[in-house]
Symmetry: C2
Subunit: 114 residues, 2 copies
């Protein structure tokens, strides 16, 4: 069986990022900094409740964090968390590169029987 490590975190991260509305929220937060739920919701056609749910998803993936000031919930981006996605991507790329390297070595000695 393939190494099914602790990738539940990465799964949550990618799942959260896979919804267009949620990505738009992340973009808004990146552009404007911390925003209230209501202000975020104003930018979308979906209901406030729907946006609230999306924020909860982003929150449990730790892509955003919430700072409750008085009755206002300030949502802000956790830019460092995005790097985790990048790490996965880079790991996969290096695995790929490594294989190509090995393959090349085999080619040079013309011993390439699979």
């Amino acid at each position: 069986m393939v190494e099914r490590i602790d990738d539940t975190d990465l799964t949550a991260l990618l799942k959260a990022a896979s919804d267009p509305t949620r990505r738009a929220i992340l973009t808004l937060l990146a552009q404007q900094g911390a925003m209230r739920v209501t202000d975020l919701a104003r930018h979308f056609e979906v209901s406030l409740n729907s946006v609230s749910k999306h924020i909860k998803t982003l929150e449990s993936a730790k892509l955003v964090s919430r700072r409750t000031e008085w009755r206002e919930h300030l949502i802000e981006l956790n830019p460092d968390r995005l790097a985790h996605i990048d790490t996965w991507f880079k790991d996969l790329q290096s695995i790929w590169a490594l294989r190509l390297e090995k393959l090349e070595k085999l080619m040079t000695k013309d011993d390439a029987h699979d």
Copy 2:
């Protein structure tokens, strides 16, 4: 409304990458190069059919491609497609960086009324 460009492609890409089994398939392909559906399925506990479905998802996200030789379907990774995810991530990061830059400028002239 936020710029909801043509991100259906990115959505498919991230959705495809958000499943652990599919990510494991991608890792296997990166490690071993092109593999048959059956050989891929051997690495997982889920049924062959389930793996076949996952491959179809990866295929429609263009993360893998299929080369049918005789009755065998060789699945291989499309490493360039992974770069799209990285592009999204980098874009978001630069938006973030840009905002911080602007913010810093504002701070220097102490004119920061939101």
